[in-house]
Symmetry: C2
């Protein structure tokens, strides 16, 4: 497996959705993410269930942002997409009865638990409008014509 990029992608989408207030279709978002509409629907489903976005079928339908960026943290989005595994490493489960293996897994697990707590805390401390502001700041220093993707 390479890296799970769903969190990054959804953050990307949400900020773009805030920029243009009209609804965006899965196909538009797919082009924005360089992927295809089904993947978009699949991943955005969690965001809808948690009430961050709304989707409407039929002619003129699409996705709309329901809550302000300042109400959404990176942690919220992480949870909305199903809290995928954070770590690529993990404990072994070869000899569950072995006290050595258990001791190893406790030591490893403790370190990972701390790292996980720190990461979630950091994610919880950043709202999406903060990232949008960073984007605006960088944009101001670069008077280029096309600042963003396919939008």
């Amino acid at each position: 497996m390479r890296n799970d990029s769903r969190l990054s992608r959804m953050l990307h989408v949400l900020i773009h959705m805030d920029k243009h207030q009209h609804s965006a279709t899965s196909e538009m978002i797919a082009k924005m993410l360089n992927t295809n509409p089904v993947v978009v629907r699949r991943t955005m489903a969690g965001l809808r269930e948690q009430g961050y976005v709304r989707s409407e079928k039929g002619h003129g339908g699409g996705w709309t942002l329901v809550r302000p960026l300042s109400d959404i943290t990176l942690l919220d989005v992480y949870r909305a997409i199903g809290e995928p595994h954070l770590f690529a490493i993990g404990p072994a489960d070869d000899q569950p009865e072995c006290l050595v293996e258990q001791a190893v897994n406790v030591a490893l697990g403790d370190a990972m638990k701390e790292a996980r707590a720190l990461l979630l805390q950091r994610l919880g401390g950043v709202t999406l409008d903060k990232i949008a502001a960073d984007f605006e700041a960088k944009l101001a220093t670069r008077p280029a014509t096309s600042y963003s993707c396919a939008s």
Copy 2:
């Protein structure tokens, strides 16, 4: 992919190797890890290159621990096995030119960098003899006959 358990496995092996001072063949270790000899050789190769263990071919050969457990940290082992990816999540690379995506990846990357630093610091702060001591402590409270795996 499930979890990469190489780190956990190697810690497990090294502590067992310290217990019985004679050399252990890949096959014995494989039984200990509930896997097979080739996987053992593959993973232990890094430990050998870093000088933590030695391997000898031929009759009576096998693997021996070269350095004391107190000289080896979890971080050392992590590095010896090739510093596998720590995280299962990561930045998206869909529209590298998009300033929004860049801002998102910076925010995510900062949080992950902190978590990574903390994790590595914790791994670097624990030596294998500490885990071995934890094991001995728990063993003392449990006067069972078979305390460990296949050894």
